[in-house]
Amino acid sequence: MGSDQLLFVGFGALALLGALAVVAQPNPVYSVIALIVSFFGLSGLYVLLESPFVAVVQIIIYAGAIMVLFLFVVMLLNATREDGSEWDRAHPYYRPGPMRLGAVLAVLFGVQMIWALTRTVGLGVGVGETRPAVESVRDVGRVLFTDYMFAFEVTSILILAAMVGAVVLARRREE
């Protein structure tokens, strides 16, 4: 096993175990922190994929801002415990309709993924063996502001709508 594989296993395990911990344990604060760990693992994987820009932005935006927002809300609502924890221990198939459907959906999804991936040819080729990587942020910028420039402008509307929406929802009283 080369160093690449070793790193992949390490970062992959970090991402996977972090995600599992988010879903599996009851305290939302720990869930948020577990997700940050998972994001660091993903960031490492992005480095392995020679995409440093995404790796750094992953930390800046996800771990640095989105998760902080989550923590603020958990603290704001003082919601460090999960209410009705008996639901966590109950078997998923005893949940109301959509929950059952969802559990089935998740299982089906996993089966479908494995089926698709075992049948598709050409996936066994090592990533990056055939083509060189586009690593520099400069290239990212060049393509982002030419091919994707309209998508970029639409993003500003998206952010603006989210901003107005969040203020409207969180406002405390009518004026």
Partner: protein
């Protein structure tokens, strides 16, 4: 008008500018100061309508990801009409219910921007971004009533399932990107057509994920759970807006992706959509009959209507494609009018959306009862309304492609659904209420808007050929 690189996005720019101006006006509004914010929104929307009309037949494209072909313009005109009607109906209600006017109109306009771009997008990334812009604005609009437990809860459920569905949609886009190396619809179409992709598991997975993602947005069974809750909890006018605008935009993007880029795979996805359409029509109708809340009932009715629309996509022939557009127009007008009447008759304190609240409406609001009757008849598909012609075209498209069973299921579920529409009509005219409520004042502008809408429904029902030809011509430029 000369040709420039921006032509295709001029309608969108009009609406965006209106949204920004509304937001700025709201920012500088003093407390208790009243501003004609709805008027500002109307100016932007009408500007966009004019731009759409001027762009007709010019097939403008901009930035390599936006197109203004006649198909997109046709659907955009539907969306803009829905927007204009919603603003007209809201003028009075926003003030009466104490909604934050600036934010309400701004989010409405941003949602319309998202819808229009979703229809115009020729790149899956832009489809996704536009869908999110639309969705985020609509989530907030659903929960915009302050301290309204039902509204906020509905908004949260809508948000959660919506975000969940977008993740599926995005995963589908990722697989298409992986297989074809591009997110542009033309590029995907070229690759899919050139190589025989049938049986490629990756692209089958992508199609399945896209169906799940769009299925949630359009509200087809089994991805419909959010819609009755969201429709019931939201303010009625917002419900009217989202049940038509969101559905029209999502359906149009769905049809564009599946009938152009993924058309070579039609033998793979048509059977799946066949099943989805059949279950959707049956379940929407059967569960709808059992509802006692008018908003919930109309929610199930719009689920059933999504099923009828899917029939058009499954049929996939020339008649079917034109029928989708005509159906969207007819359905949009009808549903906006229906929810507007509910909105005009209910306040936050007394929603008045139970079926019993409509007993004896004829005696308190004769005009509204009359208009509501035509709306309900159109929803049920009675001649001479738009709903009849729309269903007729959809079913004849299905028969034309050899989907006899689908046409029969659709026909039977329409017949059953007539029961629950007629039940309300009977209640409005035939029954008396013990304690007759004080009639709510209804704004003249809203009444005028309703009258125009209902006239349009009748026009589409009696003289449909002009619009049908327009729909057929506009869709033939694309697919």
């Amino acid at each position: 008008m000369g040709t420039s690189a921006f032509d295709a996005v001029i309608p969108v720019i009009c609406v965006t500018l209106a949204g920004l101006v509304v937001l700025l006006a709201e920012s500088f509004r003093k407390k208790q100061e009243r501003m004609p914010l709805g008027g500002l929104a109307l100016i932007g929307l009408i500007g966009a309508v004019i731009a759409c009309v001027l762009l007709w037949d010019r097939n403008a494209t901009s930035f390599g990801m936006v197109t203004a072909d006649n198909y997109a313009l046709f659907v955009n005109l539907i969306i803009l009409t829905v927007g204009i009607l919603t603003v007209v109906f809201s003028q009075h209600t926003v003030e009466r219910d104490g909604l934050p006017a600036g934010e309400y109109y701004a989010l409405l306009l941003f949602a319309i921007v998202g819808m229009m771009l979703m229809v115009q997008a020729t790149d899956l990334l832009l489809v996704f971004l536009a869908l999110e812009t639309m969705s985020i604005a609509v989530y907030v609009l659903t929960g915009i009533r302050f301290n309204d437990a039902r509204g906020t809860e509905a908004a949260f459920k809508y948000f959660l399932l919506g975000a969940f569905a977008s993740a599926f949609l995005l995963y589908g886009i990722a697989f298409l990107f992986g297989v074809t190396g591009t997110t542009s619809l033309d590029g995907i179409g070229t690759v899919v057509a050139a190589q025989s992709m049938s049986g490629n598991p990756m692209i089958l997975a992508a199609i399945a994920l896209l169906i799940v993602g769009f299925g949630f947005k359009v509200g087809v069974v089994p991805f419909h759970q959010w819609s009755p809750d969201a429709y019931e909890g939201a303010p009625a006018l917002v419900t009217g807006f989202m049940s038509t605008g969101v559905k029209a935009a999502a359906m149009a993007a769905f049809a564009r992706i599946f009938l152009s880029s993924l058309e070579p795979m039609i033998t793979d996805w048509a059977p799946v959509l066949w099943g989805v359409a059949a279950i959707t029509m049956i379940l929407g109708t059967v569960v709808g009959v059992a509802q006692t809340n008018l908003k919930r009932m109309l929610a199930y009715s719009s689920i059933a209507h999504a099923g009828y629309l899917l029939v058009g996509i499954v049929a996939g022939n020339e008649v079917g494609k034109a029928a989708i557009l005509f159906y969207l127009a007819a359905y949009a007008l009808t549903n906006v009018a229906g929810f507007a009447i509910i909105g005009l008759l209910g306040t936050k304190a007394a929603p008045n959306d139970d079926l019993r609240d409509y007993a004896g409406l004829w005696h308190t609001h004769p005009a509204l009862a009359g208009l509501m009757t035509i709306v309900l008849l159109s929803l049920g598909g009675f001649p001479p309304t738009a709903g009849f012609i729309a269903k007729w075209y959809i079913f004849s498209a299905a028969v034309g492609s050899g989907y006899y069973w689908l046409a029969i299921i659709g026909f039977l579920s329409s017949v059953v659904s007539v029961f629950f529409y007629l039940r309300i009509v009977v209640m409005m005219f035939m029954t008396e209420r013990d304690a007759r409520p004080v009639p709510l004042p209804v704004a003249a502008s809203a009444m005028a808007g309703l009258a125009v809408t209902v006239a349009a429904i009748l026009y589409l029902g009696i003289l449909p050929s002009r619009v049908i030809d327009l729909a057929a011509a506009s869709i033939s430029t694309v697919f």
